[in-house]
């Protein structure tokens, strides 16, 4: 609140705009976060700045998309050809010839789906226990979860590799899924959401003789569907984009996930053959599903980030 005491360095710009709010409804005017209606020169500047920013942000994507349809001569033309002079699918054809993308796509899907389902179940279970049950050791477990949030993944890669080798899980889906089957972030998120469910509801169910599993599965889970949606999106995407562990945990090219396959392809001079067009086609096909998913569900993304950041 001390912030309000900040002495007003008098500037007229915002003041002058006040009268222009006249026509706007009184209800919306006091919302400082929302702009007032009417022409503001400042707003034009804001739009210009944001548009330039947006152009910079999307330039690599546009470049990637356009390049993947260019012929070899367009790709190496100088001065550069921005829009393909002839659109071609040759890059995609060559890519699919050299790289078994459907296989890697399926590997990525299987791993991401398994990781997501495991997280939804296990994280919700612990989230429920932490939010809605009382038991000995509860606080210690929550402390563990918070601690786990802070540990960098690099810290466990080496022994994890040894462990997985000993268990014979290198080059297996289990080896790719198990280390990510229950994340601390998920527990934290589910606990936060479940805390907002009124205790009376659960007490009533207990009075009626409902078991904890029934309460969890039939009452609590349906109530936290938005949280489950957020967790699914983040977990699926995290797994889809994960690179370091799949790189370590797979030797057999048939078990590569998409990012590992693409990175191996891109960093191996013999395979990529130095063709940027083919690499752009590869990047395009890897990025496209993620972008579509994101645009379709964008609201959940930003809400999820905001929720996780609030604490």
């Amino acid at each position: 609140m001390s912030a309000t005491n900040a002495p007003g360095t008098l500037r007229t710009a915002p003041k002058e705009q006040r009268p222009s709010t006249g026509s706007a409804s009184k209800g919306s005017a006091p919302q400082a976060g929302k702009p007032r209606s009417g022409f503001r020169p400042g707003r034009v500047l804001v739009y210009v700045l944001l548009s330039v920013g947006l152009l910079v942000m999307s330039a690599p994507f546009l470049w990637m998309a356009l390049s993947s349809f260019k012929t070899t001569s367009d790709l190496s033309a100088s001065p550069p050809v921005w829009i393909p002079s002839t659109w071609t699918l040759d890059n995609f054809r060559e890519l699919l010839d050299k790289l078994d993308l459907p296989l890697y796509f399926m590997n990525s899907v299987i791993v991401a789906v398994l990781v997501t389902v495991c997280n939804l179940v296990f994280c919700s279970m612990l989230g429920y226990a932490l939010a809605k049950l009382k038991f000995a050791g509860q606080n210690k477990i929550f402390g563990l979860v918070l601690g786990a949030l802070m540990v960098p993944g690099n810290l466990m890669l080496l022994p994890l590799f040894v462990l997985m080798s000993k268990l014979g899980l290198i080059d297996s889906y289990a080896g790719l899924v198990l280390p990510f089957a229950a994340g601390a972030f998920g527990v934290f998120l589910m606990r936060q959401f479940m805390q907002s469910i009124p205790d009376e509801l659960l007490e009533a169910a207990r009075m009626d003789g409902a078991g904890e599993w029934y309460i969890f599965w039939r009452i609590v889970m349906p109530l936290v569907k938005p949280a489950l949606a957020t967790l699914s999106i983040f977990t699926f995407l995290g797994s889809w984009n994960n690179f370091v562990w799949p790189l370590i945990a797979t030797n057999d090219p048939d078990k590569y996930t998409l990012p590992v396959a693409l990175a191996t392809f891109a960093t191996d001079p013999n395979k990529a053959g130095g063709s940027n067009g083919v690499l752009m086609a590869g990047a395009f096909l890897v990025v496209l599903p993620v972008l579509i998913l994101f645009i379709a569900l964008q609201r959940h993304f930003t809400q999820g980030i905001a929720t996780a950041g609030m604490k």
């Binding site: 002495p7 400082a32 226990a129 009382k134 889809w240 994101f294 980030i305 950041g309 609030m310």
Partner: protein, 332 residues
């Protein structure tokens, strides 16, 4: 009220709870109120542990154990042979740690990582804040559109993005060299130059992470009570004064969180150099994580790599604690 009884019930666990749980058919009586509260407790204790078990098992096997094992390995000469015979590794005390600090390559990677963080974090936070403020103040209709645009790089597969950026920065036919040649200049070889490789990578990291920071700041901005701003506006506070006097102080918790997570992320930077430069030219983009990966999985000096992992971990913890201190104290 319910929390009070909950706490009381929690302390009253043990034999008592079990005793009442044994007689659920005791029937309604004067003691019903107490019984109802206690009966679920024994049940809740068991349920609590049952619900925790899957997470705890996975956590212990795939996280807690490896974290401790890394520490133990860092005091051994763990090598390729020990992947099959882990217990044969020889204990060598602090030798790995001592060697690390005489290892030019490791010191170089520490320095590179530091460079990445020191330049990358302020840029990411600054630009993210700027975009958030612009989106929050001047724009209503297109807000979602811009937000989606700025956030899109965050969700994309980093390996694919790094491949794209490698081409964007390509000296002969990349996007940037194309822009240079449009105006009759020759663009530099960004990734092939020792001086420019790291800044290029930082540019890409900023591009990729600005969206996260922006979303955090937008959430923070929207949490600022509107009355505060209105009062300031009525007092005739200027745009800049409002930003400095209201926005920044009230955004401090968000700023703290954004700074900490961005710093931790950048300290672990791996994929960008792995895909774009392989650490080159002449180790100018070799980061600690990439160095650790190579020592561990290319050369199988796993004991040595474990020591690296722990040094990085200690650095991360130290910096995080420091940031929490510094930024928190400022709010007072």
């Amino acid at each position: 009220m319910s929390t009070v009884t909950g706490k009381a019930a929690q302390t009253a666990k043990g034999p008592q709870g079990r005793a009442t749980a044994k007689s659920p058919a005791a029937g309604p009586g004067a003691s019903q109120g107490r019984q109802v509260r206690r009966k679920p407790l024994g049940r809740q204790n068991a349920a609590g542990w049952l619900f925790s078990t899957p997470f705890l098992v996975l956590f212990l096997v795939f996280m807690a154990f490896p974290i401790l094992a890394t520490l133990v390995m860092s005091f051994t000469d763990f090598g390729l042979r020990n992947v099959t015979h882990p217990l044969d590794a020889k204990f060598i005390g602090f030798e790995n740690y001592v060697n690390l600090f005489g290892d030019d390559k490791f010191l170089r990677s520490l320095l590179n990582t530091g460079y990445f963080v020191v330049v990358g974090v302020p840029l990411t936070i600054g630009i993210g804040l700027l975009v958030a403020v612009l989106l929050n103040n001047g724009i209503d209709r297109a807000r979602t559109f811009f937000r989606v645009g700025f956030y899109a790089p965050v969700v994309t597969t980093i390996v694919a993005v790094a491949v794209v950026w490698r081409f964007v920065l390509d000296p002969s036919d990349g996007l940037i060299s194309g822009l240079f040649s449009e105006v009759g200049l020759t663009g530099p070889d960004f990734l092939g130059s020792e001086a420019l490789a790291m800044p290029s990578m930082i540019a890409m990291a900023v591009w990729r992470n600005v969206g996260t920071v922006m979303v955090l700041f937008i959430a923070g901005l929207q949490a600022i009570p509107t009355e505060v701003r209105e009062a300031a506006r009525l007092d005739g506070t200027g745009v800049w004064a409002e930003f400095k006097g209201i926005t920044v102080p009230l955004l401090r918790p968000t700023m703290l969180y954004a700074t900490v997570i961005t710093t931790i992320g950048y300290l672990n930077v791996f994929e960008e150099p792995f895909v774009m430069t392989q650490g080159g030219p002449s180790d100018s983009t070799l980061t600690v994580s990439l160095n650790m990966y190579r020592e561990g999985f290319n050369f199988f000096h796993m004991g040595y790599a474990s020591a690296m992992a722990y040094v990085l971990f200690v650095v991360i913890m130290a910096i995080t604690v420091l940031q929490l201190r510094l930024l928190k104290d400022n709010t007072k």
